[in-house]
Structure formats: C-alpha cells, structure tokens
C-alpha cells in the first residue's frame, strides 16, 4: 500500500534531524511557517556551510596562491582542499579537471567560447534538446553565430521526455558537440544521459552535461557517465551563490585555449610572449570566489555525510505524494509527466494565473517559483505563458505539500 510505503520511507530518513541543520527553515513568513518549495531555483544552506564561510572570513582570509604569509597559505589550503573534495564527489580522475567558475552558466559559456569557438567551422552542428535552460541555449547560439556553425534542437514529446532515438537520428557527421541537461529544471525530466552520451561518443561527438538540477539529487560519477564536460552550481546543492564547477576531461582541457586572461592563469608574462599556467589555473583568471569555494566544499561534505539512498527515497516519496495530491485538484494540469523525474512538479491551474497563485501561496508562507523558469521554448511547446513549480529538497515534508495544496484550493476559491 502506498501510505505504508510512504511511512516506511519517512522512518528510514529523519527529516526533522535534517531540518534542524538549516536555520532558515525555522523562520516564519507573514506569520506562517515557511514552506520552502523553490529548491530548483536555489536551495538553502545548512549551518555547516554557513559556519565554514564564517570561520574563513573571521580567521583565514587572504588572497590565495600569492604570498608566503600564514593567512595566504591557510586560505590556499582551504580553497584547494575544496577542489579535492569536489573531484572525489563527482569521481574526476584528477583535481586538474575541476575548474572553479561562477556557476553552471559560466561553465557552459567557458566551453562554448574556448572549446567550441576554437574548433567549430562553418557547417558544423551543435545539438541540444528542446527542454534546455536558456543558459544551455544562448551560449551555443552565440558561438554558432561566431563560427558559422548551426544549432540543431532535438524535440521532446508531450510528457516532456527526450527519446534516445529522436536525438541519435540528429547526430550526423556534421555534429561536433552534444549538450543537454542531466535533469530538466522546468519539467523535472531525468534525461537518459548514459545512453545519449554513449551514442554521441561512438560518433566522435564531444559532450557536455548541464548538471545544475542533478547534483543535489542524484549521484554523479563523471567517469561512469563518460561525458567530456559536466557543469553545476554550488547554490543548488546547499552551497553559497556565485561559485560552481566545470569538470572537463583533462586531455580536452589541455588542448583548449584560455578563455579569460589575467593573473593566476599565467606562468610568465612578457610583452612579446606570455606563458599560460597549467590546469586547472589556466581557466581561473583573477582572484576567485574564495569563501564561496570553501562553502561549496562544506556543502559537498554535507551531502556526502547523508544516507544518499534514504535521502533519494525521501525525495521520491515527496514527488509521488505531491503528484498524487495535485492530480486530484480540479483544473490542475501537471506539465512534465515523464516516468523518470527529479523531485519537482510544474503545473498550471485553470482560471488562476501562476503569478496570482504565487502571491496567494506566499501569503501562506509557501514559496514556489512562477514564470517561464528560464526555459521559454519549453513554455512555447506546452503552449502556456508560465507555470507554477514546486521543487523539493531533502528537508521538505509531506505537511508542506499539504500546505501547498491548501493554498491552491484557496486560490481557486478566490478566482472561482
């Protein structure tokens, strides 16, 4: 029975113990307890991440990789140890493959402007899918314009599924790069990435996965995935904003020209010739987000310490529960109904515009995202101007989903 299964999964995972680690979850909004269901936009931070950043700012701050003084060495050690933990977290072969960037968006732009711009020729093709976030569309459009290459878009079906055969049919001798989301931010669809990458690799196509929506929810092993590039943001995996990671296969990174010039990425500068630094520093011009990187390292420790199977089962139970409760609401349509989904539900309610719904839910302390989710082509495909999206994390509860449902009912009454 479903309800018994839910109870068992909840018992295996102590959600209250997790919630106690997130200070913000105990605040109230407009006099109501906060129900934070906007985790696909940005997740909250546990005390361990807040503490790591605070400790760094109070005790260890200095610029890194410069100077022999104690603080600079401490800051460097902390920052570089975060890189080591990130390499282990996604099972990279070496720390040289972990490039710190501002976030997923910058990671994709780096690959587009360094790798793609230096290799694409007129007539080449870059293949993406219809469900991509704008940040996995626009950088490719820009580099296609610069090189004369063509952007090809693989369609999705009415459930929001990317079919392997549909994509592989578009992989031709002209296809040089295949880039797609690991998990769709607007629909929740988990893409069949292993098979997609295997298909691309067998045709000699270079692959990039946008992992922004995946890292907090699914185990990521870049060697097992076999992708050439994988990129994700810290703030969607319980870390600070303004930092993220681009993983790249070392042989590819070695061949790629630097993207930005400046300090840190050089070995020697003369006016007639500059020698670039090795990996990963070649792609890290300027003083980085040191505290952010250290906070991200603490976020990795937080996730690694979780019972990930139990956490995943809890998220799965939340998704199943929300899907069941919301499906029963008259006039509610779930947008994105793939069988393999991450824990988010995108939906519309007949007669209630998503923005009005968002305002009404906020009155009850329920935070959801409303809008096009930076995926306008997805909205166009489903012929909706916007959707409301409830996205769950390990600290969410079934009661919060009940509050969401009650708020939707309230909105329906107001607009009835």
């Amino acid at each position: 029975m479903k309800s018994i299964a839910l109870a068992e999964e909840s018992l295996a995972f102590d959600v209250e113990a997790v919630r106690r680690q997130f200070p913000i979850l105990s605040r109230s909004i407009r006099g109501k307890p906060l129900s934070y269901l906007d985790n696909a936009a940005s997740s909250q931070r546990p005390s361990s991440v807040i503490g790591a950043v605070d400790e760094y700012e109070r005790q260890h701050h200095a610029n890194i990789h410069r100077g022999v003084h104690t603080l600079s060495q401490e800051a460097t050690a902390l920052y570089e140890s975060a890189r080591d933990r990130l390499a282990r977290f996604i099972n990279a072969r070496s720390r040289a493959e972990i490039i710190f960037v501002r976030g997923t968006t910058e990671g994709i732009n780096l690959v587009a402007q360094s790798f793609a711009r230096s290799t694409l020729k007129a007539g080449d093709e870059v293949l993406i899918t219809h469900l991509e976030h704008h940040s996995n569309i626009v950088p490719w459009q820009m580099v296609c314009e610069q090189t004369g290459a063509k952007l090809i878009v693989a369609p999705i079906d009415s459930r929001g599924i990317v079919q392997l055969e549909t994509v592989t049919a578009l992989m031709t001798a002209r296809t040089k790069i295949f880039a797609c989301a690991h998990v769709s931010n607007a629909l929740g669809t988990v893409l069949p990435v292993r098979r997609l990458i295997a298909a691309a690799k067998s045709r000699g196509i270079v692959t990039l996965l946008d992992g922004a929506q995946a890292v907090a929810h699914l185990p990521v092993d870049v060697q097992e995935l076999g992708c050439d590039f994988y990129t994700f943001s810290s703030h969607k995996m319980f870390g600070p904003t303004g930092v993220g990671v681009l993983y790249g296969r070392e042989q590819l990174l070695e061949r790629m020209p630097p993207w930005q010039g400046g300090g840190e990425m050089i070995l020697a500068v003369r006016f007639d010739k500059t020698t670039y630094n090795g990996l990963p520093n070649k792609f890290e011009a300027g003083t980085p987000n040191i505290s952010g990187g250290i906070g991200l390292g603490a976020a990795v420790d937080f996730i690694t310490a979780l019972d990930r199977e139990a956490a995943h089962a809890h998220e799965r139970a939340l998704l199943d529960y929300a899907t069941r409760i919301l499906t029963a609401v008259p006039g509610l349509t779930i947008v994105g109904t793939a069988p393999d989904k991450a824990s988010l539900v995108s939906f519309t309610v007949a007669g209630v515009h998503p923005h009005d719904l968002g305002t009404i839910l906020d009155e009850d302390g329920v935070a959801v995202r409303t809008g096009h989710h930076c995926a306008m082509p997805v909205m166009d495909y489903f012929k909706v101007p916007a959707t409301a999206r409830a996205s769950f994390a390990i600290y969410n509860t079934f009661e919060e989903i009940d509050r969401l449902a009650a708020g939707i009912e309230r909105a329906r009454k107001i607009f009835s």
């Binding site: 923005h355 009005d356 305002t359 809008g371 096009h372 101007p385 916007a386 107001i414 607009f415």
Partner: protein
C-alpha cells in the same frame, strides 16, 4: 495586508470579464507591452477623436492584476486627451509605489504629482475605480503587473505624437 485587499471584487470582476478587450482596426496608435520576468504580454490600440482618446482596446495575456489594470485603464482614459491620460498615469504610478505617508516606495518618486503627500485614502479617492489597485503597493513584486498597461499606453501616445508609427513600439518593464 490581507489578500482580499489585493484581489478586490473590482479586480476579480475585470479579470473575469475584461472591458474593451480585443482588436481595433484601423488604429491611430498602438504599442506592445511585455514583461519578460513573468511573460505578461499585451497589445494596445487606440483611435483618437478631436485630440481625445475615442476608442481604446487591448488584447494579450497576463495575470489577474495586469488584466484588470488594463481593463480599468481603458475605461478611465476614454474621452481624455493624451496629456490628461499621461497625468493620470503619474497618479496611478504614485499610488502603486508610494506608501500611505506619501513616501516613495518600490518605484521612482513622482515629484509634483497632485495628491502626493496626502494619506492614501484621500489621495486616491478621486481616482475612482482605479483606486481598487492601491493594494498592489504592498506587493512590490506585482507593481510591474499593474503598471505594464500604462507604460504601453504612454508608448503608444508618444509614437503618435512623434508622427507616423513606422514600427510597432515595444515596451519592456525589465
């Protein structure tokens, strides 16, 4: 602030049955408004008669606040000159962005606006049905929903004043 102060009956009514909704041909002036943050979109067309707005119609899609605001606006500006309509825009703008004490809130200050500095109820009394939108100021994220149609009207009137409109002017609230 209560939700029913935002979603007053007048707003709900104009959202359900928007007035002056649809196309208008031929139009003397027109403009498109778009709010990229939320995807609200509207097209406004108007016909002038003796320097006054004779007919005005809008179409598009948006939330209840943006639809009701456009509907209320079309009723309010009919029969007004361009200058009078723009003056009304300033009054509405200050109502949407100033708090009860007349202190500028989320938007830009509207200096020299009649009624500025008065308590909210008195200041907005003579705005008639438009005063139903005064609850929006408590929801800064929604101010753009209510003001989109007015920005679009201003744009339509300006292109008309500037001569023949070669291309449809587009307004973005971002």
């Amino acid at each position: 602030m209560e939700l029913n102060d935002l979603y007053r009956d007048v707003i709900l009514d104009h959202n359900r049955r928007p007035r002056n909704f649809g196309g208008l041909e031929p139009a003397d002036a027109s403009a498109e408004g778009f709010n990229p943050m939320c995807g609200d979109r509207l097209t406004l067309r108007l016909q002038m008669a003796d320097d006054k707005i004779g007919e005005i119609r809008f179409e598009g899609q948006g939330c209840a606040i943006s639809t009701a605001s456009a509907s209320l606006m079309t009723e309010a500006v009919k029969g007004k000159t361009a200058a009078q309509a723009l003056q009304l825009f300033e009054r509405v703008h200050s109502m949407l962005t100033e708090d009860a004490a007349g202190v500028p809130g989320a938007g830009q200050p509207a200096a020299g606006v009649p009624g500025a500095g008065l308590p909210a109820a008195e200041a907005h009394e003579d705005l008639g049905k438009l005063a139903a939108l005064s609850g929006v100021k408590e929801y800064p994220a929604r101010v753009k929903c209510a003001s989109l149609c007015w920005h679009t009207l201003a744009s339509a009137l300006q292109t008309r004043a500037g001569g023949p409109a070669a291309a449809l002017p587009s307004v973005s609230t971002e």
